[in-house]
Subunit: 319 residues, 2 copies
């Protein structure tokens, strides 16, 4: 097995939960050997700006620039532009900070000039001094639409404006039929020493990535162990509506429910100590299971969890 | 002659000088009967945003919202987005404030959605509660390029970044051949009771408007008196590089030089008390001349100058 410094790791990522894991991971492995494939199903356009919440959360976090308290956005943020936009727009519920706005302006301008999201994402990561490779899952737009009894809502409208309320009946990935994985995504899965699925919403963060043509196959076929970390602890996510979304779709809101969604490609699963009772049933499904503290409330915990995955789960998978 | 309340006035406008006159004019006449045709030759794109400096200066001023000290932009402005943009762009010399940014975001988004600049300008004026009609001179882009010995520079680059330095050899209005006056511009000139050319740079503020096909003819043919106010006082502008531009092109940098540029359509000219000596030579050219204080250092002076134009110059022209 390569030394930690030589390990090539590919991670699939949503937003805050994944980013909190990755901030630890880049302190355990050589960040230059990390490739993060990021969900863009949450992307949306606000005031004509192309906003990619998960890409920014991952990039800002890997740059150690993220607002630590919120887990997304930039610290000491002000919202003067957003307040001024109220003069022109009836709705300004999506919180775009004045500093953060620069990223959206740059992304939008570059995309309108014909750059791909892959290129713009690399330029943004470079501008922030991020050494890992940050890849959008696709250069084509895929929009996650959450259908509740109230109808279909784009993800941000469901989650931010609607606060994740309403019983979820269906999740639609609009544009999926015309989307391909971005260049390098499947290659990064196939050529890694380990693929990690950090604690992200399995339906709206990991789901869109895995739904892209070829990605699930790559995950099933890669010779690298695929290691997941449960986003649910005692049936609840640390943040977000994953439990209600799972229940709404008739899936058990638990680490076991998530493992079931990943069953065909998962080799090992890390669950929280509070879920220790799930170890035996998960092992019975053929998974290697590691029980540990998965709640990354500070950097040390993020590093400890990354260390567990790299130094214990990975050798386990290879034994 | 109609009462002040019924007077329909059309004004051609650049930025700060014109706006300072117009803030007084709307206190003398019914603002709903004022139509302002605004130069867009200074427009440019920064960070992908469509910026129309003169339109915004006129609109913010008519809304009594402008930064009074600078004469443009909004008061108590912060520049956090601009500072953050330095991470992505090598040059951030054009000062876009956080609050002002909302206007550029709205304009850009609406234009990209297919609205005309006329429509967007009306929407912005409406959002600010401006009762006057604010018209861009054209819906097609015309870009003023200032040629000095250093080559051609877009106006903002010459004026803001380059601080108006360099000997001006030529002023190019790029795009003029494909541009028409915006709907309503020539009609507003022909149907007004008076047309006013407030104190604006004759070359780069009034020049582009008058250069549009049909505008000069409308100014010559309108039955309304056309009244100019000299932007030069004792050979110097209150703000900007008009004197150096005129000299560079071999035109006398004086109220008389400006009057010469407007000779074919001007009926009356208001000059500053400091230029009283020019009265006789200007009158010899067939102009009605009014000598008064034209430096609008506060609102009272703006109102006084507007009152002079409406209550003295206009009746003079009709007598």
């Amino acid at each position: 097995m390569p030394r930690a410094d030589d390990l090539r790791i590919t991670a699939l990522a949503g937003g805050v939960g994944a980013a909190r894991f990755l901030r630890g991971l880049v302190r355990v492995i050589n960040p230059a050997h990390l490739c993060v494939v990021v969900n863009t199903g949450d992307d949306d356009e606000f005031f004509g700006l192309c906003v990619s919440p998960d890409l920014d959360t991952v990039t800002y976090t890997l740059a150690d620039a993220v607002d630590q308290a919120k887990g997304w956005g930039l610290p000491d943020e002000s919202f003067r532009s957003l307040k001024a936009l109220q003069r022109y727009y009836p709705e300004t519920w999506f919180g775009l900070g004045d500093t953060d706005l620069a990223t959206h302006l740059f992304r939008t301008q570059q995309l309108r000039q014909g750059k791909t999201l892959t290129e713009v994402t690399a330029a943004i990561a470079h501008a922030w001094g991020v050494r890992a490779t940050v890849l959008p899952m696709s250069n084509e737009p895929v929009r996650t639409v959450v259908h509740t009894e109230a109808g279909g809502l784009p993800f941000q409208e469901y989650f931010v404006k609607g606060r994740g309320e309403g019983r979820v009946r269906r999740i639609e990935l609009r544009g999926l039929d015309d989307a391909r994985p971005a260049p390098g995504v499947c290659e990064a899965i196939r050529s890694a020493h380990m693929v990690i699925v950090p604690p992200s919403n399995p339906l709206v963060s990991i789901g869109p990535i895995v739904a892209l043509p070829g990605v699930r196959d790559a995950l099933c076929q890669t010779s690298a162990p695929v290691v997941g970390i449960s986003p649910l602890v005692a049936g609840k996510p640390i943040k977000g509506p994953a439990d209600r979304m799972l229940s709404g779709l008739g899936i058990e809101a638990s680490a076991a429910g998530v493992a079931g969604l990943y069953a065909d490609f998962l080799d090992a699963f890390v669950i929280d100590s509070q879920d220790a009772a799930l170890r035996t049933p998960l092992e019975a499904q053929g998974l290697r299971v590691r029980v540990t503290d998965t709640i990354m409330s500070d950097m040390e915990k993020s590093v400890a969890l990354a260390r567990t995955v790299v130094e214990q789960v990975l050798p386990d998978c290879r034994s």
